[in-house]
Symmetry: D2
Subunit: 338 residues, 4 copies
């Protein structure tokens, strides 16, 4: 069995990593770290894992982590991962960083996250495997943000075709993306029966979306993003309003998407409109679209589970590819719907 | 007391009309019609009105309605109101039609609703009082749709200023707009923990939004609209992504909105992002905005209660103006938040 | 106009008091205190009251409060009110304490709340007006807890008739009862799609329920209470499983309830099962029941809004009675359903 | 691979059976029947199973079903299963009936379900494996109801110990138990922000609970049950208020539960109060309890997923036992929490 460790295992993405790895036939979680919870059973915070896991939280040094683990997931906050990564990368240990620290070019990172990068110049492959097949065989991956996963997958085929002039991503997310720590937005009376728009024009994930789409079409610069929290635990529904340089037909769009996602098992092109229900708890990104007969706009809808395809599931998919396993290994299960 | 009647009183907008009229110091509901429920107490279907109302549903002819009522609300389905209106309009009775039948020009109506208009050529004032002060003194009003109310109010000031080149309205609505009849979209297991996008490019309300904004700026034609249902009972949060011809500053936008909505008591310009919680059950439209420093887009957010400002509350506001009353009469109460 | 002040106005019950008083024809809120927010506009925290209220939070001494207010509501935490009450009671100012400090006999209070009472021996009338008509004309009222309001009203008629041998109150509450401060229970991912039972056998509100029912029937001692939080903002549905000494018929129960609540405008006896929807935002307590043909148990269901009849609405009802006004004054409005 | 068929596969329990069987290493679903949908792809209704399943709905005769399947699940409505069962039972095919038709003794069934039993006298083992180890090796099983599963598991240990005098089961269920067909109770505006109590004293599941507990203690007859729907898709939280003949200590209760559920992998005794979140999508029944120091009542809380342990998961657990497989086969996965 391949041995996996999770740095910062007490949060939601840590819990999902544990759930998915426990379900994986070739990997077992052997290490879960938490500074503040060291010594406590992991199931004390992740109660749903009771009877599945005997680990206690630990707080070892990075050299011990390297020694005990074949693959290490960093599920720590942004600006923290870069403190651990340099010590972990020994050329042998596979490292998957779920934080934002290595997703962007240094200069852009420092501007967007308003912090100095303490490990500049290090290259990580951006772990959106449907757009970055070079993940296979790599030993260091920057796992994408949740919004960029849904947004980039919605727009990439048309961007790559050079058709898009202006993109507006209007995303609706469940609240689990904000983490397990209670706050004003996650306070039930504030969120229930409400929609909470935030960072209308300045969310940091725009930089990632821009990087991915602009990489596919260097002329595509007018990229807009606004997130909203809806009363749901999980899921991101992204409504991509894509304005075309020239009119396209539904058939052309259909062909472009089919070609682009051929052989990508986790992207399902659906008839009609995708639903969060159909992807909940899974690693799928379901995509549907419609062409506006009036303005020519193409509306693409993508649906993901923010904690799975938007975080921990994608990390396991990356791990599979890094280890030379089938990318669906341990991830090929359907949603418990409804 | 002014006597009010409601044609088609058994639905959600009928119930809200009754609640609001019962709260109105100058008006009393004297007639509630329903074909299928005639003879039954109104409180049998509107159980929350128990002890407030002694009416039974009736099914009288329109001449009797005219005789018994000073003001009549039509809360019947689209394509049905036009069967009643001609008989009701006697020059004396005030008539407010909450259906879509008289909101659009005949030709556009017939195209959008795919039905022949059986009462063509009749003029109704479009009852969005913040944009149509001519409501005052009128005797026949077409009450706007719920989405167009939120969208038009969000964009009107900038449209009137001739600044908008392209508008994308991405609206999130509670499910009560779909009515009291159970269906697939309102089925709890389908809607909870989900976001249901529908009619991505073809919702009929676009025609109304177009009519209102294009009226304010004849050059503004690129108007896009996509609705989504979120897991909430009430409320529409509209995210208006407005692309400007030229860059504008936040201060300019602020001034334009302040000037436009000066003296309009039901539009509140808020600091930060509006919330559905703050307007629930009320006739307010709360509006906030942000200017995108990267692309120049102005993101305007409007929040309304779809059953109040988006339907019955606006109808009462129109009634007040038609009757020469203060437009806030009976409507000046705050939300029960949270 | 009667002048009202609220000590501790920044929380949910403070917000509801403001909303209700703003709607009251004879009273106006003139003072809202908050230690930590002094100097800030009240509408900064209660955003739904924008354009209704010009007050800033203040932090005056109690003698100033007495001077400026005819009636004072204490919406401060338990164990805090008793610090203010002695200074406020001057025989002239009407004082309504929404905390638990004066609801129970001193000895019982100290045992249940595990704190010394610093103002022992002072008598307050228990402000459940349907059970305590002596509220009228009083100048100091202890406003009941939310659970006890729903539970006591459900069981009082049968208790007073001496019929009940054993009572199990299984209550389901919305989360707003826990206040505006985020915490683990109110964290959306914890509460949504869940039911959170807590203090299964030891909730402090049992003491109040016991006090009220045992007062009506000194032999009724077997009183059990278990609360649960359900995914809702407002509302308490109490399922009272009442085991009778001897079999009773549905007709007998119906008569007992009708007689008991005759002339009590805020208790509505409904056919079928009460619904939180019908009381949301209002001061009603809706009650329905069924007699178990197998075991003779009477199941009584009561529905209230925890922030209104369970707190601020009841406080205003008490204020009305204390001031000699009709008890429905400012409170006679129906729910905005759905 | 063992071949499985599902009669009536288009509903929620059918969908869950498919999901679970697709996840099962030894079984494959080969037949999904539906009269009304025959000829249509199963994934047209169960969209979450897209790319997992190639089946179309069929409508074969029972002899063909027997021929093609080693094990058959009946997921048809009550009163329908008894039309299929006689033809399916050939001594070889394993049959698991998820309907109520064979759960109760004939006479009791006819009284409770108010219908004549057309296949009287046939014996089925009641498939609650924790209480009925005789499931192993059987070829015909009556799968329990959702409420009885949670209620019986909560009370069985103390019932078997002969300690219980009176039991009140107050259950809170998600709405998926009502099926995929929209109706008034599942209508989002009716259920959200509400708790819907129903059949306060007359739910048919009481007969099953009575059967199971009375079997364990013939003197235990005072069994009461009231169900409520809460705003959730899945899950049943049962609050069992158990009144003891004599006082018991928490330690005694703990020992009784531990002994009773030793070796039962799907019952987890948790510290504190169980949560629906921890069992969602899984076959677990989590149980916690507290002893009331005042009245001696024992409050036991059980949490299950109504569609899994309350229906399809339990059916697969029964299948495993009938086939001589480990009962956890294909079912040993943790919840996707939160």
């Amino acid at each position: 069995m391949i041995k996996a460790g999770i740095i910062g295992a007490s949060g939601y993405t840590g819990g999902e990593l544990l759930r998915l790895l426990l379900n994986h036939p070739d990997v077992e979680p052997v290490l879960a770290t938490s500074r503040s919870l060291a010594g406590k059973p992991v199931t004390e915070t992740h109660r749903h894992l009771l009877d599945f896991l005997d680990l206690e939280y630990e707080n070892p040094g990075m050299d011990e982590v390297r020694e005990r683990c074949d693959v290490v997931f960093l599920a720590v906050p942004h600006k923290t991962a870069m403190n651990y990564v340099p010590e972990l990368l020994d050329g042998k240990t596979k490292v998957i960083d779920l934080s934002a620290d290595y997703r962007l070019e240094d200069g852009i990172f420092e501007k967007v996250y308003e912090v100095e990068h303490t490990d500049p110049g290090r290259h990580a492959v951006y772990g959106l495997p449907e757009l970055h097949p070079e993940v296979s065989g790599e030993s260091f991956i920057a796992n994408p943000g949740c919004f960029p996963t849904g947004a980039s997958l919605a727009a990439a085929p048309l961007a790559k075709a050079g058709l898009v002039e202006l993109a507006v991503f209007d995303s609706k997310t469940g609240i689990s993306g904000a983490g397990f720590k209670p706050g004003a937005t996650s306070h039930y009376p504030n969120l229930a029966e409400n929609v909470i728009a935030y960072k209308l024009t300045s969310h940091r994930h725009r930089a990632e979306i821009f990087q991915e789409l602009n990489r596919l079409d260097a002329n595509l610069n007018n990229i807009n993003f606004t997130p909203q929290v809806v009363p749901s635990i999980r899921g991101i529904l992204t409504t991509a309003h894509l304005f075309m340089k020239d009119r396209v037909s539904a058939e052309e769009v259909q062909d472009i998407f089919r070609d682009f996602y051929r052989g990508k098992p986790f992207v399902r092109l659906v008839e009609g409109v995708p639903s969060l229900t159909a992807v909940r708890g899974t690693n799928f990104c379901d995509i549907g679209f419609e062409v506006d007969p009036v303005t020519g706009r193409v509306v693409v809808i993508s649906a993901i589970d923010n904690l799975v395809k938007g975080a921990s599931g994608q990390a396991v998919q990356n791990m599979n590819l890094m280890l030379g396993l089938d990318e669906t290994r341990g991830l090929w299960f359907a949603a418990a719907a409804p």
